[in-house]
Symmetry: C2
Subunit: 253 residues, 2 copies
């Protein structure tokens, strides 16, 4: 049984409290929140503390606060030599105060407030400074997820950049698709099954093998017709650059 | 009961034959294929014809051949004043020979050869020159799909351009994500649940409301760090342009 304390009351903290509460391998010792009400729907009142000095002994402290507060919070903890980790995808393990043993416990997912999350399929990226700490972190992670990975701070940077491409930028392409539809009075929902299918394919195919379309076929009649059709210069520019990129197939231009 | 003949033996033709065969509202009269073997796993031998002159009377002829063959095939049909449609997303209704009544029956999906397709959720985009023909086409489409839309040739062009963004370009962003992962020895599968979640969100949220990330937050510390991290000039260029586009939020630059 691993005894865990959560520090923070935001989205990720709340989802972690829910997931760990459901696991028989883990006990939530306490959770820290500036305001008790923020967590009172998830934990018994006596487990929620509002002062760092009230924190009891635990095997693992998970700091789940905004990126720029991690360093400050870790230095305020009134104990040392315990395992303290943060949950940030973009923050180095080194921002944690050195008086405690450091680690990262990063669930790679976008969490929405009111949406139930199936934690078992969410990848959790772990990092520690030494192997013993890693085992504790791994046991905790595996108690809620089937996708646990050892990822260094450097690898985590790469993962975050890659996530911007496959999540933020992809969503923006959906938005452009919607804009083009609306400009021509086509309901965007016509495209929604295609969006699902595009993501679905990646479960079994490498993206390079799943690539289709006029750019891939080097069908310049169609790509030129599309460029003639698009009225928005920004969209046209994105169309050109992504078409070129597909044709050069990731090679440096 | 609508009596349908399919002309063609490719992916789309085969998926249509399967879907119509399963519908009690439709009868497949015949299918035309240059080679009988191409369809013999789907239809009784006597229903497969290899000569246009063998085509019997039907309520609807669906030409499902490569885009550049549609015009030629439609002009070779040895009858007139019947309803003849093509299945192409990129081809105008007007390429069909005028001796017959024209229409378009365009299932908007990427069809893979060996993958079973749930036709009921595939959007089918219909167009005809007159309203009576539209009703026949609509009845046929609704017999296999719950998502039937009236889409003009002009709207179909917009839809195809939008589909390039949400399908072809999105898949290319997946590929870049994979390249960045591999460059830094991170397994790409760590990102796969995020890809699914990104597509999933669009079922209930408008893309503009689902947008997250450093570009959206105008977090230039992170976007500059990412640009410093990316080594491939092409990827860097795409990162810059999509970040700018998110920040200008679709406004013309």
């Amino acid at each position: 049984m691993i005894r865990i304390t959560i520090i923070g009351s935001g989205n990720v903290a709340q989802h972690l409290i829910k997931a760990f509460s459901a696991s028989p391998l883990v006990e939530i010792v306490q959770a820290f929140s500036r305001k008790k009400e923020a967590l009172s729907h998830l934990l018994d009142s006596e487990k929620i503390v509002t002062e760092f000095t009230a924190l009891k002994n635990a095997d693992l402290y998970i700091i789940s606060v905004s990126d720029n507060a991690i360093s400050e919070v870790s230095s305020q903890l009134p104990f040392k030599d315990r395992l303290v980790v943060h949950t940030s995808g973009t923050t180095s393990i080194d921002v944690l105060d050195s008086k405690n043993k450091k680690g990262v416990f990063y669930p790679l997912q976008t969490f929405s407030k009111n949406k139930t999350v199936d934690f078992s399929i969410i990848p959790i990226c772990l990092e520690t400074k030494n192997q013993n700490d890693y085992k504790i972190l791994e046991t905790a992670a595996k108690s809620i997820s089937n996708a646990v990975f050892s990822i260094s701070s450097e690898q985590r940077k790469a993962l975050h950049v890659a996530a911007v491409f496959v999540n933020n930028f992809t969503n923006h392409l959906y938005q452009i698709g919607q804009e083009i539809c609306e400009e021509h009075q086509v309901p965007f929902k016509v495209l929604k099954p295609l969006i699902q299918e595009t993501a679905e394919k990646i479960k079994t195919l490498d993206p390079i093998d799943a690539q289709t379309g006029p750019a891939k076929r080097r069908d310049s009649v169609t790509t030129n017709a599309h460029l003639g059709f698009i009225t928005n210069e920004n969209q046209k520019n994105i169309y050109k650059i992504l078409t070129q990129s597909i044709q050069h197939n990731g090679k440096k231009l």
